[in-house]
Structure formats: C-alpha cells, structure tokens
C-alpha cells in the first residue's frame, strides 16, 4: 500500500530555535537525543499539530541523530500526529471511569453535532473527534483534552459552548 504523502510548510523560527536550544541544554554534552520528545512537542505545536517526514528529518538534523530515530519515536507515542488533523481536536477520554459518567453518550452527541465519526475531520478542517485512553481526570469526568488544556465536568451544553468558542477563535490551543 502506498503511503499518502502530505505536504507541509516547514518554518523553524528564531524563537522556536531558541526554545529548542534551551531544551537541548537540559541534558549533558552528547546526550542531546534526550531532548527529542520535548523538541517534537514544540515543533509540532508550531506546525499545525502534525509532523511530516520533512519536518521529522529537520528535527533529526537539529539533534544530530538519524531520521529513523525520530520516526520510531513519533510512531510510538500517541501525541504525535503524522498527518494533517483538525485544528480543534476533541480528545475524549473513554477509559472506564469516564464511561461511568457518560462519555460515550457525549461523544455520540458531539459527533452528531459536527457531522463526523470518531477519527474523522470536519470538511472545513476545523474539528476532529477522537477517543483516547485515560487522561488522569477520572474524578472530573466526562472530559476531553483540547490543545494543552483539559475541559472537565463536561455536559452537552458545555460541548456546545466549546464548539462555539472554537468557531469564534476564542480558544488558545498552546500557551506559549
């Protein structure tokens, strides 16, 4: 099967590079590979929340490691995306304690409202709904992760409000 090749414009700005260098400085000389996960987060946040091969190659170059060392890490961890995704990704926790508090009904509601199935992106590219595993918010269920923050004690009304806020550009995904 041929892999779809998604195009991405790469832009490592000076401020991003400063942050990357700061992260590298957290590890001893020669151990810069340790900075890979934090660097991938920073780079992904600055590139519409996904990582193309070209971008991963760039990260490899910056950290002076082989591209495969980046690919194998990106494909292992669930927070790194290898394709373009919806701008606002609703990641509902669907592990047991959240289910006890009705997350399945809430996901159905959200999908219906947005006209997508779990794992799909809306046609305008704005929204995507995903079911993820335990986010460590069991006492505040049902909940979802949106960008760098958690939205907890969710209800249908709260989901409506979040969707409206996203459309009105009132949601900050990454607090830099």
């Amino acid at each position: 099967m041929e892999r779809t090749h998604y195009k991405q414009e790469i832009n490592i700005t000076d401020s991003l590079m400063t942050r990357i260098n700061e992260l590298i400085s957290h590890y001893p000389e020669g151990k810069q590979k340790s900075a890979l996960l934090p660097v991938l987060h920073e780079v992904q946040d600055a590139h519409d929340n996904w990582l193309s091969f070209e971008l991963m190659d760039k990260v490899a170059e910056i950290l002076q490691i082989k591209p495969i060392e980046v690919y194998e890490v990106v494909s292992f961890y669930s927070m790194f995306n290898q394709r373009p995704i919806g701008k606002y990704m609703f990641e509902f926790c669907q592990t047991s304690p959240c289910c006890l508090n009705g997350v399945e009904d809430l996901m159905d509601y959200t999908c219906e409202k947005l006209g997508v199935k779990v794992g799909e992106t809306t046609a305008d590219g704005l929204f995507e709904v995903r079911g993820v595993e335990c986010l460590g918010a069991c006492g505040y269920a049902p909940m979802m992760q949106l960008g760098d923050s958690y939205k907890e004690h969710l209800t249908k009304e709260k989901v409506d409000q979040i969707i409206a806020d996203c459309r009105d550009n009132k949601i900050t995904l990454h607090d830099k």
């Binding site: 151990k31 590979k33 961890y77 669930s78 047991s96 304690p97 335990c134 069991c138």
Partner: protein
C-alpha cells in the same frame, strides 16, 4: 480530621508561588538536610519512616535508595515519575498543580540524599499545563538559590529539569521511563541490571513517584520515626487516594493509612457515599491493574475483619478474596455498571498501551480485547470464558515488565467474582444489546435466569 502532611497547606492562597510557599515553611527540609545532615543520614530517616513507593508497587523507598551504586564513581540521577496514567489515578497531578514547590523541595532533598547532581521530573505529555507550572517553579527555586552550584554554601550542586513525555502509559514503568528520557521508544528494559546500577545513560539512577518524593520534606523536617507513627503496621504515613465513579464526592483525598474502607466510602469528610440511591456493586482500590472486588468483600475481608485502607488489609485474602492498594486509584461502581463492559474497556486500554516488545502481552491483550468485545456485544460463546482465563494465564509472568500482569489480573478477577455476569451475556444476547443494559434491569434482577440454566 486526620493528619495531613502533603496537602496540609494546599488551600493557602498563593501557595503555588515561591514566596508564599517559602513564607509557610517551604524549603526548610533542604536547609536542614544540607546544613545539618549527611546524605546517608537522610537515607536513614527515610528508611526509618517506612515510606513505601506510592506509584503502585509499594516497595520501601529508603531501601530502594540504599541500592544506588555509589562505588562506581559514575554520576547519579534521581528521576521523578510523574507519568501518572493508571486508569483511576489522578493524585500526582493534583499535588503538582496546586503545590508544585513541594515536589521541587522533595527533589532537592532527595537528590542530596542520593548524591545526584542532575535530576529530572518526567511528566506525561498530556499534563502540558502542569509541565509549565513545574518549569516556572523550578525557575523560581533556582532564582532563590535552591538549585545550581554550591546550594546554601554547602558545596552541593544540583540541576533539576522537567521532561515531557509523548503519551504512553508504559513510560510509567521505570525502565521504559528511562528509555523515554533518553529520547527513545518506551520499551522496558530487561532487569537486571536495575536502574540503581545502570539507569539513565547507564548511570546509577533512582526512579520515585511524585507522592513518594513529596513525603520526604516532612520526614526530614520531623523525623522518620514520627512518620512511622502514622498509619498501621508496615503501612506507614498518609496516602493520596484519587476517587472516581459512582460516588458523591469524587476527588483527591489524603488519608492516614489504616482508616476503614467503610469510613472512606461513606463519611462526609471523604466520598460521602454513593452518588445515587443505586447500591454498591464493585470497587477497585488501586487503579485498573488491581483486582476488582464484589460488594461483599469491600468493607469486610473474607475473615469478617474490617477492611482497612492499608497495603496489607486491601490485599488480605490474596487474589482469591483480596485486591491491592496499588496507586490509590479508587473506582466505585453501582449496579448500573456492567462488569463485562468494564473489563473489555480495561482490556482495550492495555492492548492500546502494550509496547509490543513481548508477544504474550502484545498478542494476548489484543485477544482479550476481541473476546471481551464479542461477549459484551452479544456474540460470545460458552467456551469464551475459559478462553479468557487461558489467555490471561499465558500473559501473566511471561513478560519483561508488569504491564502484562496488569492486563491479565483484572480479567481473571472479573471472571472470578462475576462469572455469572459473563454467562448471562453469552446466553442472553438479546438482553444486552443496549450499552446501558443494566440501568433498567440490573444484574441482580436477572441473575436467576443464569443459575436456572446452570443447574
């Protein structure tokens, strides 16, 4: 009110900031340790305290510290495990979010005890906002002279950083965490060598849970002996419990070890009883990996003794009639819950989170998920229950790390205590079509259908 030593100051306005934390006695343990105690004396206090690893395994922390290789002369590291991901567990997050300097203080005092000059806090990727809180707290502590070179003129140097993960439960296993901290996939390492000898970058390393490290300042400020006075027997001190499910007051609680499960469940100081008038059906005391217990084994052990919130009492009766304190992820189920559905849910979790290194776990968790899925969706077969037991027994004990056991145990426990509920799903598929099948018709009201057929 029981004694609090971790969360006693959490409600002080502004305690998140360095100034307020310091004004309220913060960083006293660093002063005391660096000025008046040798590293070995700190280790001894922690040994005396009886403090046990709060991540789930319950291994004595002082003993773990004493294993660190000091002879090789290699640099040593303390790594804090803040990769909290065990379903039902959200206690470390609370501590780090609301009183971050307690963890930073604990890291400094503990690093001094271990002779570590470079330490890390590894936090799960989803806790991004807490990562930023910790980064800020570290910068404040450094600016105030608690980190860096020659701290308080003692000659002791320490650098401390936070490392963010990428979303992988397995990185809570200490050697997987170390791999991840080295910028690799989170594949657990074969032990030995243990991290105490060869950990981060092959240097001697101790990995401790957030709550364990946060208890160290109190132990140093008071004494190990005072800490050991709290609690019962080998379950000393206090424990954070994160409670969720069908209860009135979900949240994070600090309890003195040794209170009864009944009091914790029902008193207004804690969970306040069930969230509705539906009866208690089952509970899991220590996160998804520990065995589920049915109602009749929750408040009393099989011997009829009060079940206590301690390592020993919760595991009383072994796996036949007991469970484990684990991480303190306390999940409560009322009779609307379906045990089969819950077990399938957990199996899906472990299948998703298996790193894939060992075939029993990689394949077995997938099989369990599939078989449980078909039972829950009305396509189960009579032999599926024994098939599940067979799969779980082939995973248990046959993997590099404990994720395999953690996936296997909940399945075995669910069948052990709720076998009839599995049989009901298999024999009456038309009755379980709706995912809320036990809301209108709880299992107790249809149980007779199964027993009739069994006889």
């Amino acid at each position: 009110m029981s004694q609090k030593i971790l969360l006693d100051k959490v409600n002080i306005p502004g305690i998140k900031t360095y100034e307020v934390y310091r004004q309220n006695g913060g960083y006293a343990s660093v002063e005391k340790a660096l000025k008046t105690l040798t590293p070995d004396e700190v280790v001894e206090e922690v040994k005396t305290s009886g403090l046990r690893g709060r991540g789930g395994a319950g291994f004595p922390a002082g003993m773990k510290w004493s294993f660190i290789d000091k002879k090789s002369g290699k640099p040593r590291h303390l790594v804090c495990n803040a990769d909290e991901s065990e379903p039902g567990t959200f206690k470390d997050r609370y501590l780090m979010e609301y009183i971050p300097h307690l963890l930073i203080e604990g890291m400094i005092t503990s690093s001094y005890a271990l002779g570590a000059n470079l330490s890390y806090i590894y936090i799960r990727g989803e806790y991004m906002w807490i990562y930023k809180i910790l980064e800020r707290a570290i910068a404040e502590a450094k600016a105030a002279g608690w980190l860096g070179k020659n701290i308080l003129g003692s000659g002791y140097d320490l650098e401390l950083y936070v490392q963010i993960g990428g979303g992988a439960y397995i990185c809570g296993e200490e050697t997987a965490l170390i791999e991840s901290l080295e910028g690799k996939r989170g594949n657990p390492r074969i032990k030995p060598p243990f991290p105490a000898v060869s950990g981060l970058w092959a240097n001697p390393t101790v990995v401790n849970n957030v709550e364990t490290i946060a208890a160290v300042p109190w132990i140093v400020n008071n004494s190990g002996a005072d800490y050991a006075k709290i609690g019962v027997g080998r379950s000393t001190g206090t424990k954070l419990i994160s409670a969720s499910g069908h209860i009135k007051n979900p949240g994070v609680y600090e309890i003195e070890m040794g209170i009864t499960v009944y009091e914790f469940m029902n008193s207004d100081e804690y969970l306040g009883g069930m969230s509705s008038d539906r009866p208690l059906k089952a509970f899991i005391p220590g996160g998804s990996s520990v065995p589920v217990l049915p109602a009749h084994l929750i408040y009393k052990t099989a011997n009829g003794e009060d079940r206590l919130m301690t390592y020993e009492s919760l595991s009383d009766g072994g796996f036949a009639t007991g469970s484990m304190l684990g991480s303190g992820g306390f999940i409560v189920y009322d009779d609307t819950s379906c045990i089969v559905r819950n077990t399938w849910n957990f199996s899906r979790f472990y299948h998703h989170e298996s790193c894939g290194q060992c075939s029993p776990c990689r394949e077995g968790t997938g099989w369990m998920e599939k078989v449980l899925h078909r039972i829950e969706n009305g396509h189960g077969r009579e032999e599926d229950i024994d098939l599940l037991l067979s799969i779980q027994s082939k995973i248990e004990g046959n993997t590099i790390c404990p994720l395999g056991d953690a996936a296997a145990w909940p399945v075995a426990a669910a069948i052990r205590h709720f076998r009839e509920e599995f049989e009901y799903h298999i024999r009456f598929p038309e009755k379980i079509k709706n995912r809320d099948h036990f809301v209108a018709e709880p299992f107790e009201s249809v149980k007779h259908l199964v027993s009739k057929l069994t006889v």
